[in-house]
């Protein structure tokens, strides 16, 4: 590799491509599905210097002093971890507890499938972690893993390991939150085989609603509801269970009923907390009220206590989402939709202090404790899990650790934040907090419905909004997210910055009022850059509130930003409202390859066939780009009779030609005048053009809904093509296919992603996907690499250098690269050596008749059918022309004949 680097020319296409997953991921909220109020899993080391945070693809250890990630355990890097944690593609196995073996400096992870993983923690070791099999302890043989899931492991020195296990209620068909068991494991004998486990406590007499435990993990608090058959109907009971003294009987308290409000929200308990001495319990209701129960005497253990001191704390105006007691017991922390962390001083009556304007809805707050008594007070932290609840397609979490005294942030981390085209079918990434204002609260029932739909649904468009790589810094990816942009550093694997790009309600407050709920924030849909990287162009759509005459009006805004090196922010310079007219969207943005008016320019297209060229106009007497604004400098008028959202733009490198595809017609325009060329300016294709790329000076790469093809501009003919129809038929929404196609303009290579359901792992409630990434050379004649990836790839992009970045459904970022041989990069599956023809089979026309089998039959994979190019003699069958007639509405008569001829030729 080193010798080859000296002569990297056009010939280095011989370099092998590798696919590896290196970055990204998202934070998990693994305990939420077990109705656990203590829902976020993380661990502060005892010296309070490191914080261990599990992601869905790795475990990261952050230093609290430097905010840097000091160590990463990637699941895929490690054979043991990858086998245990990321089993196949379904995401059901998660890290649910983290512990620390002080004597050996080992980190201990527990997975929800009763496995314990022990890892070396000492920093001196090389990043290459050796995790051998004997460090994995499997407890799963003791439990019925079909119904049981591990929720939490309590490790106290007196009584060994206590497992809190959630068991599904198999007797009840619908509903039912299941049982909650505490098992005791004797850890005196360490050989893992003779250990006995005893169920020491089980709450099954009623339905378990919620569970939580105190910060010091001494007390377990369980909320149950008596079953309907019992005499006093719907009585809610609180069980306080001392985990240090497992023999002692539990303390049962009847939940005080409010008689004032008849609303069901006033009875719906959303979260709860217990303090370290079990003297106080806080219950948070959906109505926003917190009830604080103080236990006077513990004499009547085992009986129901009625004489309780009860205080109600009212501040939240939407559901209380999380509660936690400060370790000293003097404060109660609460959080909710307001994005304000509230401190209740318990010794005083209703004195509150606030930490407002957090980045997201607070769904978890934990008061972290350290064992060292530090006088400076810097050892006390509060860990918050924030959620960007505005994103309806994905749960975007953000972890924030703040100092409990001065509220300065100590740590902040999250994965790449992005919006997907539709709600993801992954259960763990679709947590919606309960709200009385927002009606978008999905409980399990609704979620199952979505899942069932997504399994059956043919259209499985989970592509992400198109993300872009900055031309100046190739490691920065810009993800459009709600009304902001998440700038993510690919190699550091950290978010660099999050900047709001538009006015919105949610950036400065929580949407907790009905009128706010109706307002939808502007959505950033496209981000692009001028070729020199000095200007960023964003396109956003703002929808009007529902129920108005103007509800259907959406305003489209184009914004031009330049980078301010002082503040390290993008500064807005020009904002253009309705750039193509009212209610007309921008369908594509293409930066000018050459300077126009001695400056940058951007070409935009609308869905009527109009084009507008925006130029950077320097203000008088200034030369700095910071003082310039943008204006319309040229335009091609739309034809108001035609509408299509399949519009693509491509500008030739010398700026002389513009390729403008509108539905199934490709028009070649003069780049200077925006007028069609005199001769041969129009090219009619068989179906709507999805993507258009001028790979080099000669080859125009066109993707339609039916095929991939290359048009040779010099020969004036199509030279090569593949059938694509079975892979994209009905799957993607209009214009979304191009998110899965990327072109390396430097080398002239083309990357295409094909997503498919993985039949091996699909069942009634679960669906799993795999994706193929295929790299072609500039004229599609040679395939440089084919990779199978076991997750749905939501977008691929060229990194403006030599690699392609892609993102999957779990927000993991990967790279398809020729250069990187870093050992950290884990190769997923490289099928590069397989026969070219076989690959072609797998790619092109694998099964032509899948279109009418509605994705239910999977057994015809082997049946391959190559439509064009490779085989001279074709077998024409009944279904050969099937795809032609599928979209016959758009096909003109001439085209139809052309297509027929091409099919049989």
């Amino acid at each position: 590799m080193t010798t080859a680097s000296s002569n990297i020319t056009a010939k280095d296409t011989n370099n092998k491509y590798n696919l590896s997953v290196v970055s990204g991921g998202r934070l998990t909220l693994s305990r939420a599905q077990f109705n656990c109020s203590y829902n976020h899993v993380s661990y502060l080391t005892s010296d309070s210097k490191h914080y261990i945070v599990p992601f869905n693809n790795m475990i990261k250890i952050y230093s609290m002093e430097t905010r840097q990630c000091v160590k990463t355990f990637k699941y895929l890097n490690n054979p043991v971890l990858s086998e245990l944690v990321s089993s196949s593609s379904s995401n059901r196995v998660e890290i649910i507890d983290i512990d620390f073996e002080r004597e050996n400096d080992n980190i201990v992870f527990y997975t929800s499938t009763f496995k314990k993983i022990v890892m070396q923690y000492t920093k001196k070791k090389s990043p290459k972690q050796e995790i051998s099999d004997n460090l994995v302890v499997d407890y799963s043989n003791k439990f019925d893993t079909n119904v049981s899931t591990l929720v939490k492991v309590f490790n106290n020195n007196n009584s060994g390991l206590l497992f809190l296990v959630h068991e599904k209620d198999t007797t009840v068909k619908k509903g039912g939150n299941g049982f909650l068991n505490v098992y005791k494991l004797d850890n005196n004998n360490n050989n893992g085989t003779n250990e006995s486990h005893i169920s020491i406590k089980k709450w099954n007499e009623g339905e378990v609603i919620l569970n939580t435990w105190s910060n010091n993990e001494q007390y377990l608090l369980v909320l149950t509801k008596t079953s309907c058959s019992s005499p006093d109907n719907n009585k809610k009971l609180l069980h306080i269970y001392n985990l240090h003294d497992v023999e002692a009987a539990e303390l049962v308290i009847k939940v005080p009923e409010t008689k004032v409000s008849q609303s069901s929200n006033a009875h719906y308990i959303t979260t709860m907390a217990i303090n370290n001495t079990a003297s106080q319990i806080a219950l948070g209701y959906a109505s926003g009220v917190i009830t604080l129960i103080t236990l006077n005497n513990k004499s009547n253990i085992g009986e129901e206590i009625d004489n309780l001191q009860i205080r109600t704390l009212k501040w939240h105006i939407d559901s209380v989402l999380t509660l936690n007691f400060d370790n000293s017991g003097s404060y109660l922390l609460s959080g909710g939709w307001e994005k304000v962390l509230t401190f209740w001083l318990l010794s005083d009556t209703n004195v509150q202090q606030f930490l407002p304007r957090l980045n997201g809805v607070i769904i978890s707050v934990t008061s972290l404790s350290t064992h060292i008594n530090d006088n400076s007070g810097d050892g006390k932290y509060i860990s918050l899990l924030l959620q960007h609840a505005d994103n309806k397609t994905n749960s975007d979490y953000e972890l924030l650790v703040i100092n409990s005294t001065d509220f300065q942030s100590k740590l902040c981390c999250n994965g790449p934040l992005t919006n997907f085209e539709s709600e993801l079918p992954i259960k763990s990434s679709n947590y919606q907090p309960i709200s009385i204002v927002s009606n978008h609260n999905s409980n399990n029932e609704i979620f199952k419905k979505i899942l069932r739909k997504s399994v059956k649904n043919k259209r499985q468009d989970y592509t992400a909004l198109p993300f872009t790589v900055s031309p100046k810094f190739k490691n920065l990816i810009y993800f459009p997210h709600n009304s902001g942009v998440c700038i993510y550093d690919f190699y550091k694997n950290e978010q660099l910055k999050y900047q709001y790009l538009s006015t919105n309600v949610s950036s400065f407050m929580g949407k907790v009022r009905l009128e706010h709920e109706n307002i939808s924030d502007p959505q950033i849909l496209k981000i692009d850059f001028t070729l020199n990287g000095e200007w960023m162009v964003t396109y956003e759509v703002e929808k009007q509130p529902n129920g108005l005459l103007s509800s259907n009006d959406s305003s489209h805004i184009l914004k031009f930003w330049n980078f301010d090196t002082d503040s390290q922010n993008w500064n807005l310079q020009t904002k253009i409202i309705n750039p193509h007219g009212t209610n007309i969207p921008i369908t594509d943005i293409c930066p000018a390859p050459v300077s126009i008016l001695n400056s940058n320019a951007i070409l935009t297209s609308d869905n009527n066939g109009g084009l507008k060229l925006w130029g950077c106009l320097l203000k008088e007497n200034t030369t700095a780009s910071a003082n310039s604004n943008w204006g319309l400098i040229d335009m091609k008028l739309p034809n108001f009779n035609n509408f299509s959202n399949n519009v693509n733009l491509e500008w030739s490198g010398d700026g002389s030609l513009i390729f403008h595809s509108f539905d199934d017609v490709l028009t070649i325009l003069d780049g200077r005048k925006l007028t069609p060329l005199e001769n041969e300016s129009k090219l009619q294709l068989d179906s709507a053009i999805q993507s258009l790329h001028l790979v080099d000076e000669e080859h125009l790469f066109i993707v339609t809904t039916t095929c991939l093809t290359v048009y040779n501009l010099l020969l004036g003919d199509f030279t090569k093509g593949f059938d694509l129809y079975p892979y994209v038929n009905g799957i993607y929404k209009t214009g979304d296919l191009r998110r899965l196609i990327a072109v390396d303009y430097k080398r002239g290579n083309i990357a295409i992603v094909v997503n498919q359901k993985d039949p091996d792992f699909c069942d009634k409630f679960d669906v799993s996907y795999k994706a193929h990434v295929v790299i072609f050379n500039n004229n599609l004649t040679c395939k440089l690499g084919t990779f199978t990836y076991n997750d749905y790839i939501t977008g691929i992009v060229w990194n403006k250098d030599s690699d392609f970045y892609f993102m999957d459904m779990n927000s993991r970022l990967g790279v398809v690269s020729t250069t990187i041989t870093n050992e950290l990069f884990d190769v997923a599956t490289d099928n590069n050596n397989t026969d070219f023809k076989l690959e072609l089979n797998s790619l092109s026309a694998r099964k032509l008749n899948t279109s009418n089998t509605d994705g239910q039959s999977h057994d015809e994979d082997e049946e391959a059918n190559i439509i064009n190019g490779e085989k001279k003699h074709k077998i024409i069958r009944n279904n050969t022309f099937m795809n032609l007639f599928d979209n016959i509405d758009n096909v003109q008569m001439e085209t139809l004949f052309d297509s027929v001829l091409r099919t049989i030729s």
Partner: protein, 682 residues
């Protein structure tokens, strides 16, 4: 006492509640409140670096007093903290550890600490009037004196608590003496355990006392009092009274002694944060008038406290006053201490509420950045802020974790159909096209027809402009138009008509002239003017200009419908009269696109209005209908007064009213959106 409003005084809202400045090392110790707890921070002001902080974890432990203590022969520097719990913590700030905690064994809060550096003794007084003496070399308690019995039993009950202490250890006097200050001052001999002298005091508790050894006297200041007393320790007399203009706060008095010349300057920071200067307080001055009046006022106070005045007492007014400004706002000072010489001071202040900063100033010589210098020592100093005032960011800077907010700032906001930046070539293209059009025969005939009617119309038009001065210009324009001979012949325009001016404006691209013409609002005039437009090519140009103006007007007022009514009129008539011609132009769509978009936008409102109209109509109709039906119901109700009531039927839920079961409300929910429901079930 002083009615100065505290509203602009930043320090009163600051979390900084206690400060102590250490001269030698340039350290400032300050206590801030965090939630209900306190934090002590030690900051090196020269380097703007917080050396260490001590967080008091117990909520009920408050720091009452801070004293720095350097141990001479070692490197360790200590801070002594007097706490409200009756403990004294000895804190080594460099190592951030508490060396030891001295307990007074009583729960009275510590009021004052005093370190005698020569004997290395710590004098400490709590609110229970108990004086504790510790040896700082080994942290042992030497002595404990209950002053209540000894001293205050005799005196009046007002003086019950000691607020300040000051030890007086002179080299030639072996006796340990302490000044005990409540409202008055007692000189107490610790060796003999007796009160040596009583000094006349203030009327409020004393908050400051300092002994000046070279002059054998001491200075006191009291709470809310603007007078500072200087006492002679031998005689017990007041040597002089320093009167500042505002009350002096505790611990904001600095006494600066020049050992060479025996000059003593006193600097005080008043309530509003200004620095006031008393120079050379022991030099006697004859300033009789003022003294007389002051003595009178002092007499009253002294009478109340029952202390007789010494006759030779002098009063001294301030010699100078320095105010400070930052960002043209008054800056209250936090503290001041003496520096190298008698005239040099180190002042400290707070920025962004809680960050202290310092600067050295020379008092006597007015520095360069002085503004508003009224006399030698009365001036204002402008201080540059350490925090740049960029943005409205949090005083500690933005938190890294917070998202970057959206700022529109000075960005240009424009609209998609704002064509003002369109490249000139576009318009050139249009004009080029227009010139190539050959006037058809029909046009020519039409022109002739126009000519005939012209005279008649022009009279009307000319009344609006009413000027005959345009003869020459108009004729020259018509003569320049040489490409059409026929037209040239016909163009013997009547001078001064609006048409002529319009033509002229369009051809010469004279915007202001065009504006003048387009300001015409009379529809008849507009119609006539356009009717007489000599060259129909100009109509395109006119439409373009109109479109430009409509677009601009729309951008200016946003609504786009207020002021350009006349523009719409112009447009309308232009399209009506020259529509036929416009149809013949091939590339019109591109040249008039902006007009098209403007009109399209305006036309799109029509649908909306229709919808609204329909909705209103519907509501009105429904109301009407409801009124009618409710009237009917009312009438029918009247008749029903005599319905027979059968109890059995009612109990069985079978009572029928208006053909419906009375308690069958559930079916009626669907009607609930209009008002009929209320009227049905009364």
């Amino acid at each position: 006492m002083n009615s100065l409003s505290k509203s602009d005084n930043n320090t009163s809202f600051s979390p900084v509640i206690l400060t102590e400045y250490e001269n030698q090392s340039g350290l400032l110790a300050y206590v801030t409140i965090e939630l209900n707890k306190q934090r002590l921070s030690i900051k090196e002001l020269s380097s703007d670096r917080v050396i260490n902080t001590l967080f008091i974890n117990e909520a009920n432990t408050k720091i009452n007093t801070i004293k720095f203590k350097h141990i001479n022969n070692s490197d360790t520097s200590l801070i002594l903290l007097g706490l409200s719990t009756g403990e004294i913590w000895i804190y080594a700030y460099k190592n951030n550890e508490i060396v030891t905690k001295l307990s007074t064994q009583s729960n009275f809060p510590i009021v004052d600490l005093q370190v005698d550096s020569t004997s290395n003794k710590l004098y400490c007084c709590d609110s229970g009037n108990i004086l504790h003496i510790y040896d700082l070399t080994n942290f042992n308690k030497i002595n404990k004196l209950d002053l209540n019995e000894d001293i205050f039993s005799s005196s009046s009950s007002n003086d019950a608590t000691i607020g300040k202490i000051c030890c007086i250890n002179s080299a030639n006097d072996k006796n340990e003496k302490v000044l005990l200050c409540s409202q008055s001052v007692l000189l107490y001999n610790l060796t003999s355990n007796e009160v040596e002298l009583k000094f006349p005091g203030h009327i409020t508790p004393i908050t400051f006392v300092e002994y000046i050894e070279s002059h054998k006297c001491f200075v006191t200041a009291a709470k809310n009092d603007r007078f500072l007393n200087v006492y002679d320790i031998k005689t017990g007399n007041i040597i002089t009274v320093l009167s500042s203009s505002e009350p002096v706060e505790a611990s904001k008095v600095t006494i600066s002694i020049d050992h060479n010349s025996d000059k003593v300057n006193v600097y005080v920071i008043t309530e509003s944060g200004n620095l006031e200067i008393f120079q050379d307080i022991f030099v006697k001055r004859e300033d009789s008038d003022n003294i007389e009046s002051l003595l009178k006022s002092k007499k009253k106070k002294k009478d109340r406290t029952g202390v007789k005045n010494g006759g030779n007492k002098k009063s001294k007014k301030i010699d100078g006053k320095i105010t400070f400004e930052m960002n043209s706002k008054h800056l209250p000072l936090l503290n001041c201490t003496t520096s190298n010489s008698i005239d040099e001071l180190i002042i400290t202040w707070l920025e962004r509420v809680s960050s202290p900063f310092s600067k050295q100033i020379t008092v006597a010589a007015a520095p360069q950045d002085v503004v508003n210098s009224t006399s030698n020592l009365f001036y204002t100093i402008k201080i540059k802020p350490h925090f740049s005032n960029q943005g409205q960011k949090h005083y500690q800077g933005t938190d890294i974790a917070s998202h970057e907010k959206y700022v529109e700032g000075n960005a240009t906001v424009s609209n998609g159909d704002n064509f003002q930046d369109l490249l000139e070539s576009e318009i050139d293209k249009v004009l080029e096209n227009n010139n190539n059009v050959i006037t058809s025969l029909q046009d020519q005939l039409f022109d002739q027809m126009l000519e005939n009617t012209k005279d008649h119309k022009n009279k009307k038009a000319s009344t609006t402009i009413g000027s005959d001065n345009n003869v020459d210009i108009a004729t020259t324009i018509s003569t320049t138009n040489t490409n059409n001979k026929l037209r040239k012949k016909k163009n013997k325009d009547v001078v001064g008509t609006l048409t002529v001016i319009l033509t002229q404006a369009l051809k010469s691209n004279d915007q202001s002239l065009l504006d003048q013409v387009l300001n015409t609002r009379d529809p008849r005039v507009i119609k006539a003017t356009i009717y007489k437009l000599p060259q129909q090519q100009l109509s395109i140009l006119l439409l373009q200009k109109l479109a430009e103006r409509i677009a601009v007007a729309k951008n200016n007022d946003g609504s786009g419908n207020s002021s350009n009514n006349s523009l719409d009129q112009w447009c309308k008539w232009c399209l009506i009269i020259h529509g036929g011609y416009l149809n013949t132009i091939p590339d019109l769509l591109s040249s008039l696109s902006s007009l098209h978009s403007a009109m399209k936008r305006k036309a799109s409102v029509l649908n909306r209005l229709n919808e609204l109209g329909e909705a209103l109509d519907c509501v009105l109709k429904r109301n009407e209908f409801n009124d009618e039906t409710s009237n009917n119901e009312y009438e029918s109700e009247e008749e029903e007064e005599f319905v027979e009531y059968v109890e059995e039927l009612d109990d069985a839920g079978l009572l029928i009213e208006n053909g419906k079961l009375v308690n069958d409300d559930s079916n009626e929910n669907e009607y609930s959106e209009d008002d009929t429901r209320d009227s049905v079930v009364i």
